[in-house]
């Protein structure tokens, strides 16, 4: 014992501790694994979307020739949508150019598809397929807007109530109860919207299509409220008590303090909560699939059916031919969703950072 406690070069010598080393490496490994998985998903989605943009300019001439050739008799080897004009029997005995043909036909289709992306008609399964993203994009925005317009005030005011007005015992019940809703399976919310809310709102407002953007938006707000509520509540309760005391000591009453001091001081957190809620609604698939009616219409009327980007992937991915144009377009939509939510989170991050800087450095 005495030897160990003495300060000698020996007792202070660096030691290799195996368990410490292993634990550290294990944790690091797990962290990098999860990051890698996310990056791989990202890469995969983009990789599957990229073939859409391979239209081979140099090959254009060759493509035309090929297409005329095909029209003259090679038709049977073509695939997917062009089959309907073909005779059922395989006529050709030239095996070599087959792979090449397939590729070329796909590129011709891709080229057509790319031209239609900037339109409003979404008709991927037809003789003349059209992949207009605008109606989907607009529909998504419409549903998101409705959902956030409902969820943000409700979530924020509920949070304000729990953090500023509710007695302690009520807060201890309310917060977990609302947070529980965040773990609610979205299919259950969708089911509820489909069976109960849709009929209820139709009876109430008397519009034509039972499933529409409004019903979808209301249902999705149920998914967004817990997120907005939880984060806002955290932001509000982390406002220093001295702020509230200062306000109260000036003779402000509780609601004045809550609205003019606590709420402004928590703005960055509230902003973040709204953006996260928006992200949730934006990517929500199951509720959209079940409650929005899934008709790709371009209309400003909130009581028309809409088809969202996420629901389109959800509905069509299972039925699409692997590697064909439609498949690539669906991945393009996936990539777009990725970029949107990424952009939204980035915006939240930078805005909040900038804002906090300004507030707390006094610049």
């Amino acid at each position: 014992m005495a030897e160990n406690t003495r300060f000698t070069a020996e007792s202070l010598k660096k030691k290799f501790r195996l368990s410490e080393f292993l634990a550290e490496k294990f944790i690091t490994g797990i962290a990098f694994l999860s990051i890698t998985i996310i990056v791989l998903i990202f890469v995969f989605v983009f990789r599957e979307a990229i073939p859409l943009f391979r239209t081979g300019k140099a090959k254009e001439v060759a493509v035309k020739e090929q297409v005329t050739k095909i029209n003259e008799g090679l038709k049977p080897e073509s695939y997917g949508d062009t089959v309907n004009q073909a005779s059922p029997v395989v006529v050709t005995n030239k095996p070599a150019p087959q792979a090449y043909d397939e590729d070329v036909i796909r590129q011709v289709e891709n080229k057509k598809a790319l031209k239609t992306l900037n339109t409003a008609t979404w008709q991927p399964v037809s003789d003349n397929p059209r992949y207009g993203l605008w109606s989907l994009f607009f529909g998504t925005l419409k549903v998101t807007l409705i959902a956030i317009l409902i969820a943000a005030p409700l979530g924020i005011l509920a949070a304000l109530f729990t953090s500023a007005f509710a007695p302690t015992w009520l807060r201890e019940i309310l917060k977990p109860a609302i947070e529980l809703l965040a773990g609610f399976p979205s299919v259950v919310i969708g089911f509820f919207a489909l069976m109960v809310m849709a009929s209820f709102f139709q009876d109430l407002f008397g519009y034509a299509s039972r499933l529409n953007a409004f019903v979808g938006g209301v249902a999705m707000s149920l998914a967004a409220i817990p997120i907005i509520y939880t984060i806002t509540e955290d932001a509000l309760s982390s406002v220093p008590a001295t702020y509230k005391e200062a306000s109260l000591a000036l003779g402000a009453n509780h609601w004045q303090t809550a609205f003019f001091v606590t709420l402004p001081a928590a703005t960055p957190g509230i902003f973040a909560s709204i953006l996260l809620g928006t992200g949730r609604v934006f990517g929500e698939t199951m509720i959209a699939l079940m409650a929005t009616g899934n008709a790709a219409l371009l209309s400003a009327n909130p009581f028309e059916s809409v088809r969202t980007l996420a629901a389109t992937i959800g509905a069509e991915m299972a039925e699409v031919v692997y590697g064909d144009t439609h498949y690539s377009v669906l991945f393009l939509i996936g990539a777009l969703l990725f970029i949107f939510s990424f952009g939204m989170n980035a915006l939240a991050e930078f805005y909040i950072k900038g804002r906090l800087m300004k507030r707390f450095m006094g610049r």
């Binding site: 000036l250 003779g251 402004p264």
Partner: protein, 252 residues
């Protein structure tokens, strides 16, 4: 002795089961500075917060006894706490300006009292900042964030904010404990000026500060008021041994 502003009668306060203030009787004179001294945890801050009922915010606090301000018991059932706090302002230990502009910080008090007229607000902001001796430093940057000010300036801004609602009594909870000597002396100077118009009760850990700024001193120990008297008497010729021990630094 001058006119009495605040009269405390048999004030007892419990936090849950714990006795924090025991039977305090004290008379605080009008337009004078009264310092509360004592070791940490002796109840002086708690006592200060009973004077504008900030302890109401703590659910476990139970209070008995009377606090009379201008002969009116502020613990009476019919007293409106909001109006009480407008007359009894408070400055906190840690300067806590809102994350708003300098102007808005001072204008907040009048605004919540329903004053929205630009001209009136401008005037209140200016006089409050002048009285808090910070006007010259901030008059060109009223729109800047209050959090960009130095610690001492922030504290004077908080004092200006307190003055903006025109209170009779100002409670100060160690207002200079987090400040450097220069800012501290500015605050002390300010207290000297303010006592012409306001009754000031100040909690301080700094014995020299108490001796410098106050006219009367109350010594608290373990929730009891040990001794109260003119600052001069307390510091030069205390009647109770405990007070003497504390002031000379033998304990606490």
């Amino acid at each position: 002795m001058k006119e009495i502003k605040i009269k405390i009668k048999d004030l007892t306060l419990h936090y849950g089961q714990k006795l924090a203030l025991n039977n305090i009787c004290l008379e605080i004179p009008d337009r004078r500075v009264t310092a509360l001294i004592g070791p940490s945890g002796c109840g002086k801050s708690t006592f200060l917060r009973t004077l504008n009922r900030m302890n109401d915010l703590i659910p476990s606090a139970r209070i008995s006894g009377e606090v009379l301000i201008d002969e009116l018991n502020i613990y009476d059932r019919n007293i409106d706490v909001v109006n009480l706090r407008k007359r009894v302002g408070m400055v906190f230990q840690k300067s806590n300006p809102f994350s708003k502009s300098i102007y808005e910080n001072v204008a907040y008090g009048p605004r919540i009292n329903g004053i929205n007229e630009r001209k009136v607000l401008d005037e209140i902001v200016e006089t409050s900042l002048k009285r808090a001796a910070i006007w010259n430093e901030v008059k060109d940057r009223l729109r800047d964030s209050a959090l960009g000010l130095s610690g001492g300036q922030q504290q004077r801004l908080c004092i200006a904010r307190t003055l903006s609602v025109n209170p009779d009594v100002i409670l100060m909870d160690e207002p200079a404990s987090a400040l450097d000597p220069l800012s501290t002396s500015k605050i002390e100077e300010l207290i000297h000026q303010l006592k012409e118009q306001y009754t000031i009760v100040i909690v301080t850990h700094n014995m020299q500060q108490a001796a410098r700024v106050s006219d009367y001193t109350a010594f608290f120990y373990l929730g009891e008021l040990i001794e109260f008297g003119k600052t001069k008497t307390i510091f030069t010729n205390p009647t109770i041994k405990q007070t003497e021990d504390y002031i000379t630094g033998r304990f606490g």
